[in-house]
Amino acid sequence: MLRVEHLTKVFPNGTVALKDVTFEVADGEFLAVIGLSGSGKSTLLRCINRLIEPTSGKIIWDGTDLTALSPSEMRRVRRKIGFVFQQFNLVRRSNVITNVLTGRLGYVNTAQSLLNAFSKEDNDRALNNLERLGLREKAYVRADSLSGGQQQRVGIARALMQEPKIILADEPVASLDPVLSHSILKYLEQLNREDGLTVLCSLHFLDLVHRYATSAIALKEGQLVFQGLPQEIDDAQFKAIYGQEAQRVSII
């Protein structure tokens, strides 16, 4: 169970990115986070694993307040929180398996990892995860020679190396061709259904939310404006979240 309580983030330049956001995610949920660009979706996800330090509020995960942890304690907790990025965030010049292995950094001995000496076990784990995402044969090619969809699958494989309990996905399909969106989201759905991972995923398209999410929250200008089931987002809700000029669009 993940509880976010009164979370507020004010950036040093004065921008209020999140304002008193409170919600709850039960284990095993696929929570969609929706809202316009700049509504605070990315900031919210990054505050949860403290890639961005929240200004105030609490994040309580399995009874622990993550905002109260020391940096080294936080690093240990982060191992259990996978993160999938919009821009994939791969080291483009490193090969695929090295990128996947970096998902293991929270577990391994620092000195050993600095020498790039990962255990046989970790290596096999990386190959298995790549297998699962259909990229076993790409393990030793450079990351930048893959297509966008493949790169995002490498990103997911890297998150899986952490053996996470929860996956935070920040617009995982926004940088991809719309036709590839389903392939990526299906993998996340698979992890959610088969492995029982909790998934928090920010998304742009409402029909993707309807198709994959089990629950949804909506942010507008940093404030929570909706919480409930995806099906509950009717036209009135939609206008409230996206503004009066917004039109529903669907992909494939």
Binding site: R75, I81, V91, T102, G106, K138, A139, Q162
Partner: protein, 777 residues
């Protein structure tokens, strides 16, 4: 734009009459006002200072001494009043005056301060021919010679009454003269026989029984002795002034020798003695210990071994300095990277300190570092290496830092999210991103270090720089020429390798195998390069005479010297000389940039692939132009100084000319690249309208290249100020000469003032040139 006011135009005009720029300020044009005021202050200072110190523009009316340049200044002042007046009406004034007058003034002053004397270039041209001659015949190869000579003697001067017989005691083949005695200027006739038929030789006047001699000349040209078909010769000549070196006392005539000498080259060309000192020679030496130890050679056996010359020491210095700077600068660069330091507590402070240290260290030239370091570790290759390394570390660290700052933050975020700590994040998200550009910068630096290594020997007494220093001191211009050729070849090779490898780095080697690739050191290529690297490293280590122990055994005076350097002397006298010489240096750089740039302007088109590289007929021009630029660029300005010192004499003018040669090579390359980077579209469009080649250059190319040309010229001025600071170490005048004088007189606290001044000027210039170029682009 200045807002149009409805105020009376007289008030701003009056204001500007009292204080330049005040009227413009009143009208709200702050930037303009500040520039006018600033320009006026700088010009006034320059006119006053150079009148006092260099007598620039001096005119005397009775007791009044002033500079006629104040007239030009007055014109500028009046323009400023006029501008304020017109500005009040919302109108503008011609830029020609506003920019023209200050520029004209600065060039007039620069011309005089740098002691430009074009006449000397012409009148003393015959003197410098000896160097051009040497450049064509560098002392590298030679043949065996056979000498035939005959010597006879004479009394100088005639006693009273004159001697009837000569002193006797000739040597060699039979020669004789027609008189037993004579005095300076008398004509003698020498005859000889038994020499090789139909050959030409020279005459020498000798101190009898000593080693001094002069070649006998007539009207500047050597007197030639030519034998006939039977091996006989008869030659008339005048007794040279050398004969009277000990006075002409009839009571004690002195015996002098006169020798006819025929030198004939025989046999094949072979490396000269000089070739051995400069490049190296094969020597028979005892086999090295490891060979006897492994039983490859018996004990006491000898082997031919290559004994490397000065140029190899220089190559080793350049290589080792680059390696050292990579190893040291790579970790240091993280302290100078804002994005990294922002993640560490107190990191921002460290960031600023690191950047400041990099910049200050970088602004002091390698050669000046060498002079400072000589007080620590003494003369020798090791000191040169340290000087190269220190400068190189700072320069490389700055570039590395900037590269670290430009990384994609995404992967760092990803490894952080996975629970990685700072070190792991750097290892997995930062380093893989920066390695290629680090390598590229290091290769570029290798090229630069190689060039610097050629000059560092001027002060640290090692390598080819020292060789040149010695050659010039002895007047050995053919040796000097040989060194220049040698440097050019080595630098061009390094230049090529560095560029080639840099290109290779960024080539994408996509490999699609599903098996893990072999580590670099497991592939044959990897093994080859590793072995090569280790071998070169060991050789370089030895040649560079690296002795880390020396670092801990500084000269006993080192502590005091260091303290002297730091306790800067700010007494007015010292500040005044520093200011004077600094001005010379700045103006040298300005004139050299102008001169080099003006010559490079047309040349750049010849060296541009898209201009001359297109047709087969023009291709040779393209390659020739490229070669000239590369060759001139490959030799550091300070090494050219010797030529111009010989040509126009010691001083700022010689330094300026030397600098302009290197400038020409550097800026010509930049210009030609700017020409190569132009867009073809406009050219095509004009050609389509029926414009001819010249028209399309004027209307489609020139507008595209003016901004980059100006930008490069300013950049070059910035570089030239750095270069000009060391020109003086070879007799080229300016701040470098002052520095060397102070160090030579052991006045280190004054030398410290010079260093401080250099740091300030170079840093300011660096900053200003970056700002101006930003605006131009």
């Amino acid at each position: 734009m200045a807002p149009v006011r409805t105020k009376t135009p007289l008030l701003p005009a009056l204001l500007s009459l009292v204080i330049p720029g005040a009227g413009q300020m009143y009208l709200g044009a702050r930037m303009v006002a500040a520039s006018i005021f600033g320009t006026a202050v700088v010009l006034a200072f320059l006119i006053w200072f150079t009148l006092e110190n260099f007598r620039v523009g001096l005119v005397e009316w009775g007791t009044l001494k002033t500079s006629w340049l104040w007239l030009l200044f007055a014109v500028f002042w009046l323009w400023n009043v006029w501008d304020a007046y017109r500005r009040a009406h919302g109108r503008t004034t011609p830029r020609l005056v506003s920019f023209g007058i200050p520029i004209l003034l600065i060039y007039i002053i620069a011309w005089q301060v740098t002691d430009v004397n074009l006449l000397r270039l012409v009148t003393r041209f015959s003197d410098v021919q000896i160097i051009f001659d040497a450049l064509i015949h560098p002392d590298l190869l030679t043949r065996d010679t056979v000498v035939h000579q005959g010597m006879t003697t004479i009394w100088i001067p005639c006693s009273n009454p004159p001697q009837t017989v000569g002193p006797g005691g000739g040597s060699g083949l039979p020669v004789g003269i027609d008189k037993p005695c004579g005095t300076v200027g008398d004509t003698l006739v020498m005859a000889g026989q038994g020499f090789e038929p139909n050959t030409t030789g020279n005459l020498y006047w000798q101190e009898y029984g000593g080693t001094n001699e002069v070649q006998v000349r007539s009207g500047g040209a050597p007197v030639l002795v030519t034998t006939d078909a039977e091996g006989k010769f008869v030659v008339p000549f005048a007794i040279p002034a050398f004969a009277g070196r000990d006075g002409l006392d009839p009571n004690s005539p002195i015996v002098n020798g006169i020798e006819a000498r025929f030198i004939r080259e025989v046999g094949p060309l072979k490396p000269s003695e000089n070739f051995g000192t400069l490049i190296g020679k094969i020597e028979i030496k005892p086999a090295p210990d490891w060979m006897t130890a492994f039983g490859i050679m018996p004990v006491g056996a000898t082997l031919p071994a290559f004994e490397p010359g000065g140029i190899f020491v220089t190559i080793a210095l350049g290589l080792m300095a680059t390696l050292i700077s990579i190893v040291v600068a790579a970790p240091l660069s993280f302290f100078g990277a804002h994005n990294i330091m922002a993640r560490v507590r107190g990191g921002t402070v460290i960031y600023y300190i690191a950047r400041a240290i990099f910049n200050v260290t970088r602004s002091i030239d390698t050669l000046i570092w060498a002079i400072i370091l000589v007080t620590w570790t003494g003369l020798g290759a090791f000191t040169g290496l340290m000087a190269l390394s220190i400068h190189s570390i700072a320069a490389v660290a700055k570039l590395y830092s900037e590269e670290v700052e430009h990384i994609d933050p995404g992967p760092v975020e990803a490894t952080t999210a996975a629970g990685g700590n700072l070190l792991q994040n750097i290892r997995f998200a930062v380093i893989p991103q920066i390695v290629p550009s680090f390598l590229a910068y290091s290769l570029l630096r290798w090229d630069i270090n190689m060039r610097s290594a050629t000059v560092v020997g001027l002060v640290s007494a090692a390598g080819v720089g020292f060789y040149i220093f010695e050659a010039i001191r002895k007047g050995g211009y053919r040796e000097y020429a040989a060194a220049l050729w040698c440097i050019a070849v080595v630098v061009l090779i390094v230049d090529f390798l560095s560029a080639y490898w840099r290109e290779q780095i960024f080539k994408n080697e996509a490999q699609a195998s599903s098996a893990p690739p072999k580590a670099f050191y497991q592939t044959p290529r990897g093994i080859f390069y590793t072995v090569l690297f280790v071998a070169v490293f060991i050789l370089s280590w030895n040649l560079a005479q690296i002795d880390l122990g020396k670092l801990f055994e500084p000269a006993p005076t080192f502590g005091k010297v260091l303290l002297d350097f730091v306790s800067v002397d700010t007494s007015p006298g010292v500040l005044d000389s520093v200011m004077r010489n600094l001005l010379v240096t700045i103006f040298q750089a300005l004139l050299a940039t102008t001169l080099g740039g003006v010559i490079a302007l047309p040349f750049a088109f010849l060296a541009a692939r898209n201009i001359t590289g297109r047709t087969r007929a023009a291709l040779p021009v393209y390659y020739a132009a490229r070669f000239v630029l590369s060759f001139l660029r490959s030799i550091e300005a300070v090494l050219y100084v010797a030529i111009f010192v010989f040509w126009v004499g010691v001083g700022a003018f010689a330094g300026m000319l030397a600098l302009s040669i290197t400038t020409f090579g550097l800026i010509g390359k930049l210009f030609s690249e700017a020409v190569e980077n132009i867009e073809e579209g406009p050219v095509e469009a004009l050609t389509a309208t029926g414009a001819n080649r010249l028209q399309s250059i004027a209307f489609a190319i020139v507008p595209q290249i003016v901004p980059p040309f100006i930008s490069y010229a300013i950049y070059q001025w910035d570089i030239n100020i750095r270069l000009a600071t060391i020109i003086g170490l070879a007799g080229g005048g300016g701040i470098g000469q002052l520095f060397q004088n102070y160090v030579g007189q052991l006045q280190y606290h004054k030398a410290g003032t010079v260093i401080l001044a250099i740091v300030i000027v170079v840093t300011l210039m660096d900053f200003a040139s970056a700002k101006i170029r930003e605006r131009l682009v």
